[in-house]
Structure formats: structure tokens, C-alpha cells
């Protein structure tokens, strides 16, 4: 294993060990700060309750990410084809981006009148802007000489898009995808906090709220650990995807091989 993987792993184990020791030595009660071993035990004992919540959060996150990819990329392509569409729509995309999601989530929840749908909209709102803006940047960052070459050989707008602009935008798009994967999870969790939903079909954020009311702090930590693990898993899979798509030609992927 490379130093890339071992160094952070060693540090992590060390910190967890110190944490466990400190909890015992200072006799901190579990309702203030549980040790990592207790948290792991809670994760196992509460798994039947936490697993469905994990599934709910994960589903909303992935759906929101998929919607962000489709709508963000399509809008970016539309903007690159028509200057007027871009000039008229882009400012509103910025407005959506800069408005804090916590502030508009209550409105969306009222309007959507369906809790899953409103969570999905909130997570999508947070996730889609990086994809839109980065893909636009990528579609524009095309070598001028290559554009001349395509013009010289009579490629129209569509074939230039297909064979030149889209591949050129791919690294930018993939960079945005990694950011948006994390943002979709954050959006889903934040919206769930605002919604404060109950019942069977509710996600990890609600488990944290619920456990907090009941002062079941180890369960709060267990749910938190699951959210973090989900975020890490999303980031790693998108990084892998990016690496697989770019490894033959793009500088960013080549640097990883050195």
C-alpha cells in the first residue's frame, strides 16, 4: 500500500485510540461524548433502524445528483448554443445558487406538498450549479485552432459540439461532478433537518434529530458516521469514474500516476 493510503489511515487509527483513551481516563459520560467503540456497537445494534434511513438519504442524494447532471449539462449545452438563452437565464441560475438552501427549503416543502419531492428539489438546487457553470466553462475552453479546423472541414454546430466541445468539456464536467456529489448529500441532509419529518420513511438527518431529543448521543454519532461514510463513498466513486475516463489523455489523471 502506498504512503498515500497508509499515512491518513495511521493518523485516523491513532486519533480514534486517543479518543477512546481520553473518554475512559476523563470518565466522560456517553451522553456527552461516547467513545468510538461504543459508537461502533451502537451502529451494529441500531442497524435495523439506521439502515432504512441510510437508504432514504442515499436515494434522495443520488436522484438529486442524477437530476443535477441531466439538467445542468443540458442547460450548459443550450447556453453554449445560444448566447441569448444564456444571457437571459444565467443570472437566475446564479440567484438560485446564492440563496441559502435553509432559507428556501420551508417554501419548497409547502409548495411541493410531498416530502420526498421537496427534499429532492432542495438537494438538486444545491448540486446543479457547479455542473452548469463548469460545463459551460468547459464547452468554451476549446482550442481556437481546433475550432478553425472543424470549420475548415465543414463541421456544423452539432458535429462541432459532439466531436469537439463535449469531449473538451469532459474534465471540467467531471471536476464539477465530484463537488456536486458532496453537495447533493449536504442538500438532502439540510433539507431533511428543515423538514423535520417523522414516520418510517425518513433519512439519517431525522435520526440525528430524534436521537438528540432522546439524548441518545451514541446513536447521533452512529448516524453522523453513516452520513460521513456516504459522502466519502460518493466522492471516491466519482473520483474513480473521473480517473477511468481521463487516464489516457488528461493531465489531471496523468499526475495521479506519477
Amino acid at each position: 500500500m502506498s504512503a498515500r493510503a497508509t499515512a491518513p489511515l495511521l493518523l485516523g487509527v491513532l486519533v480514534l485510540a486517543l479518543w477512546e483513551e481520553a473518554v475512559h481516563l476523563l470518565a466522560i459520560p456517553p451522553y456527552v461524548l461516547p467513545g468510538p467503540i461504543l459508537i461502533a456497537e451502537t451502529l451494529v445494534t441500531d442497524w435495523t433502524m439506521l439502515a432504512p434511513s441510510l437508504w432514504v438519504t442515499l436515494t434522495i442524494t443520488l436522484q438529486a445528483l442524477a437530476a443535477a447532471v441531466v439538467i445542468g449539462a443540458l442547460l450548459a449545452i443550450l447556453f453554449s448554443l445560444s448566447r441569448w438563452v444564456e444571457l437571459s437565464l444565467f443570472p437566475y441560475a446564479v440567484v438560485l445558487q446564492v440563496t441559502p438552501i435553509v432559507a428556501i427549503a420551508p417554501l419548497i416543502i409547502i409548495w411541493a406538498n410531498n416530502i420526498d419531492l421537496s427534499l429532492l428539489i432542495c438537494a438538486w438546487l444545491v448540486a446543479f450549479f457547479p455542473i452548469l457553470s463548469n460545463t459551460i466553462l468547459g464547452l468554451r475552453s476549446v482550442d481556437r485552432n481546433l475550432l478553425d479546423l472543424f470549420e475548415l472541414h465543414g463541421a456544423g454546430r452539432w458535429r462541432t459540439l459532439l466531436h469537439l466541445r463535449l469531449p473538451a468539456a469532459l474534465p471540467y464536467f467531471l471536476g464539477a461532478l465530484r463537488i456536486s456529489g458532496g453537495l447533493a448529500l449536504i442538500g438532502a441532509v439540510v433539507a431533511e433537518f428543515v423538514a423535520g419529518t417523522g414516520g418510517n420513511a425518513s433519512g439519517l438527518a431525522w435520526r440525528i434529530l430524534e436521537a438528540g431529543y432522546q439524548l441518545k448521543v451514541p446513536r447521533m454519532f452512529a448516524a453522523l458516521a453513516l452520513i460521513s461514510a456516504t459522502g466519502i463513498a460518493i466522492f471516491l466513486s466519482l473520483t474513480l469514474l473521473s480517473h477511468l475516463l481521463l487516464r489516457r489523455w488528461h493531465e489531471s489523471a496523468l499526475a495521479m500516476q506519477e
Binding site: 485552432n145 470549420e151 475548415l152 472541414h153 463541421a155 469532459l170 489516457r248
Partner: protein, 256 residues
């Protein structure tokens, strides 16, 4: 080699003024004859690249009459940089103009393979541009420009960024290609030595606005090789071309 003496490109009083009012070219009169190797020599900023873009049809003149081959794929263009698609192989890069022309996959890959072989890159079909040296990338770029078998090959200082050894080798290989494929070549350069080595005729330009100041014939038979490069005749022709270039640049100084 036989000559038919018809013009491939004919410019009469061509001028180009940009939208910002800059006059890049003024009253250019120039004929490029079928099958000839013409160099356009001039200081940087004299509008050489603009002239080439006009001939390629990538920009329109603002004055005068310009006749050029306007059918698609009759003109090949080699840029200053190799300008390859980084995400695909050398073979697919060379096949690109055929793909855009709607040639079937099998046929275009076959012709691209032949064009790559023509520039001496057998065995590099599957290589990505980043795996190739600067000289090899330029060879791929030349193969791509020639894959449609154009009548006219336009080159915009294609070897300026290469080391001298690669440049000399590519000069000789380019002449061999030209003799074999019999396209008409217009080669833009700021190197006196390169223009004398390659061409039958040199159009020397003066700057601001760009004009064809004078023309110089290089009456030396092909094939030209390294022996020609070290000959007294070559040195003499280079001196002549340099003098004319200095005259052309002095014109610019008076005007300024």
C-alpha cells in the same frame, strides 16, 4: 516536375481590415501556381497568418478579389501548434477530416493509416498525442492535413516551435511528400533559411499594413538535401533573401 501554370490561388488587390480598424493586409496581389512550393516570408506582425486564413476561407477579405479552392477538403491546413485532439489516438486524429466528411469508418481508418505511414509514423497509430514528441505530433498534424488529398496545403510556421534537428528532418520529409503527392504548398515562415531551403518562390512581406514587398525565385532543382543546406549556392540565396527582407522591414520603419 511538370507545370500546368494555372493558378490555385489568385489574389488581386486583397485587403483585410479588422472590426477594430486595424489594417492587417493592404493591396495584396499574389498568384499561387498549381503544384508550386511558395513560401511567405516576413517579420512577425506583417499579416502572414491573416493572409493564410483568408486563403483557407476562415476569414473574408474586406477588399479586392480572392479566388481560392472553395470546395470542402480541397484545402489542408497545418497550424503553428500540432492542434490535435488530446482524447484520442494518432490514427483517429488523422481520420478526423474524413469523419467530418462522412467517410465510412473502415475506409477512413485505412486512409488515415496510409497518411500516417506517409509521414513516417508506422507503429504509432494507437499512441495518444501526449505520448508523442513535438516533432511526431507535427507529423500527425501534417498527415491529418493531407488525408483528404487536398490540392492546396497551407502551413502556418509549422516547425517554429521545434528544435533545429527535428526541423531539418521535417523540411526534407515535407519536400519528399510534396514531390510524391503533388499538392500546391503555401508555407508561412519567419525563417529566411527555411524559406530558401523549401521553396521555388518566396513572397517577402512588409508590415503594418501587410503587403507583398517583393518576390524571389529559388531556381534550385529538387530533391534538395543536407548537401544543399551546406552549399555556397544556398548561402548566397539566403544572403539575397535576407537583404530583401531587410529592405521590406525598412519600408515599415519609414511608414511608421
Amino acid at each position: 516536375m511538370e507545370r500546368t501554370w494555372t493558378s490555385v490561388v489568385s489574389a488581386r488587390g486583397v485587403s483585410k481590415e479588422f472590426a477594430n480598424g486595424l489594417r492587417a493586409l493592404s493591396d495584396i496581389t499574389l498568384n499561387v501556381l498549381e503544384g508550386e512550393f511558395l513560401s511567405v516570408l516576413g517579420p512577425s506582425g506583417c499579416g502572414k497568418t491573416t493572409l493564410l486564413r483568408l486563403i483557407a476561407g476562415l476569414a473574408a477579405p474586406t477588399g479586392g478579389i480572392l479566388e481560392r479552392p472553395d470546395a470542402r477538403n480541397e484545402t489542408g491546413f497545418v497550424f503553428q501548434e500540432p492542434t490535435l485532439l488530446p482524447w484520442t489516438t494518432a490514427l483517429a486524429n488523422v481520420a478526423l477530416p474524413l469523419k467530418l466528411a462522412g467517410v465510412g469508418r473502415k475506409e477512413r481508418l485505412r486512409r488515415a493509416g496510409e497518411a500516417l505511414a506517409g509521414v513516417g509514423l508506422v507503429g504509432f497509430e494507437r499512441s495518444y498525442p501526449r505520448e508523442l514528441s513535438g516533432g511526431m505530433k507535427m507529423r500527425v498534424s501534417i498527415a491529418r492535413a493531407l488525408v483528404t488529398r487536398p490540392r492546396l496545403l497551407l502551413m502556418d510556421e509549422p516547425f517554429a516551435a521545434l528544435d533545429e534537428i527535428s526541423r531539418h528532418k521535417l523540411n526534407i520529409d515535407l519536400l519528399a511528400l510534396w514531390q510524391r503527392e503533388r499538392f500546391t504548398a503555401v508555407f508561412v515562415t519567419h525563417s529566411v533559411f527555411e524559406s530558401v531551403f523549401l521553396s521555388q518562390r518566396i513572397a517577402i512581406m512588409s508590415a503594418r499594413p501587410g503587403r507583398v514587398w517583393t518576390e524571389l525565385a529559388i531556381p534550385v532543382a529538387y530533391p534538395r538535401d543536407e548537401a544543399f543546406r551546406t552549399s555556397a549556392q544556398y548561402a548566397g540565396l539566403c544572403r539575397q533573401a535576407s537583404q530583401r527582407l531587410f529592405e521590406a522591414m525598412a519600408v515599415k520603419a519609414e511608414a511608421a
